[in-house]
Symmetry: C2
Subunit: 259 residues, 2 copies
């Protein structure tokens, strides 16, 4: 059975996609795992960030699978040039699909049932989420075993962390699904911003053991890798953010007791 990790944050632009893509690629490249990356964000940025690696074209849309026209998410997964990494791209109509989903019985379980078979064929499934706590994110949380919360070093990002923890508690109470929090990943860390860093660290202190020891530094190589359509490890394996994301892969593997 695969371990499912949802990468969520209500705040926009904190590095959800950057983390989901590089975590999935790193687990395949360094962990030897068979990994499925699922993009539940209608922006479709997982595919953009892995543009150069994708092979083939999707047989149908993610929306079609979520609405039950196809039973198994694997049917629309794309192979990549990276051994062990497969991607389910999102589709631009996911926003409209969300409206249709809201009328379905068990509307929060659609992704979870679409992954039922896939879970027996992969070691890890990583799910990228949109910047909100709407039904696509709820579907990801209900399908997941673990939650990883990227948070950049800003007061606006820290504020949203409480909301996602509340959502996890709420899903536990109302749906009986007990997702574990893998951790909070500090992104865009710049040692020079002392004043704001101190305020953020002080706010995160209440989540102490959840805050991952590794911080992803501000590093332009990440945006350059996205321009090239490849993970940071293939773009510049020794840059500071590649080193950090390798540590993220190790820390996630340890905390989620993978293999």
């Amino acid at each position: 059975q695969a371990t499912v990790v949802a990468v969520c944050a209500q705040k926009g632009g904190v590095g959800k996609t950057t983390t989901a893509v590089n975590l999935a690629a790193g687990l395949a490249m360094y962990g030897g795992a068979k990994v499925l990356l699922v993009d539940m964000d209608g922006q479709g940025h997982c595919a953009t960030a892995l543009q150069a690696e994708l092979r083939g074209a999707a047989a149908d849309s993610l929306g079609a699978v979520l609405l039950g026209r196809r039973r198994d998410l694997q049917e629309i997964a794309l192979r990549t040039a990276i051994d062990g990494l497969w991607v389910v791209p999102s589709d631009k109509d996911l926003g409209a699909t969300e409206g249709v989903m809201s009328g379905r019985i068990g509307k929060e379980m659609l992704l979870r049932s679409a992954l039922k078979v896939a879970r027996t064929h992969y070691d890890v499934i990583v799910v990228d989420c949109p910047p909100n706590l709407g039904s696509l994110t709820v579907n990801a949380l209900v399908a997941a075993d673990w939650l990883l919360v990227p948070c950049d070093m800003s007061v606006l990002s820290v504020e949203g962390v409480d909301d996602i923890f509340d959502a996890v508690d709420h899903i536990g109470e109302t749906m009986g699904h007990h997702l574990a929090v893998l951790g909070i990943l500090r992104t865009r860390y710049d040692a020079r911003n002392q004043k704001v860093n101190e305020a953020v660290e002080a706010s995160l202190a209440r989540y102490e053991h959840y805050v991952l020891p590794v911080r992803v530094p501000v590093n332009t190589a990440l945006a350059q890798a996205q321009l090239a359509g490849t993970p940071i490890f293939k773009y510049d394996a020794e840059c500071r953010s590649a080193v950090a994301y390798r540590e993220v892969v190790e820390e996630v593997t340890r905390r989620a007791q993978m293999r």
Copy 2:
């Protein structure tokens, strides 16, 4: 009649709130205008970024006004310590309200009618939007005369610009509401990121005359000002981003033919 400017971008974290707050404050402080800042994003970050300036507490929630329990948005506007600047904070339940709104006749016009009276009391109304093209953003577009699109210097942000232009066209065709595009504002500009900057500028070339001449540089003072809960002009009036946002105020005033 007030000029209404919606600040929208589907991409998260590109500086919508930072721009909406500093544009609204700048129009009041330097343009001598009476300005209402409306926060249509459930994250509520306009209030966070102006925490130190807000006076008094909201009589009711934005959701209550949108759903018609109160007729006029001014009833819940908060005064600030900045002469001429008033703020309608969002509320955490805006996400749930969005669900209720979708069942209402004229669901896209709720903000527009809530602003009907306010438009006769202000010179400018600035609306901050969430990172999606859902019904709260559509409400902002239908209520607005002008659209300002922040876009940071990354391939992922540029990709979403097409979608917002499509949404504007769609609103024109289906609702007969012809919103004008004020422009695209480049944010987080860092001259050192030559490779990505060139790619972004090449992608934006098709929007040529829409791209505002001023670029907002990467500047940690903006996050520091948000930590202090005050606009950049009060935090550090001579820093690079304060200079840039003063130019944004001038450019917006010129393009939207304000007084």
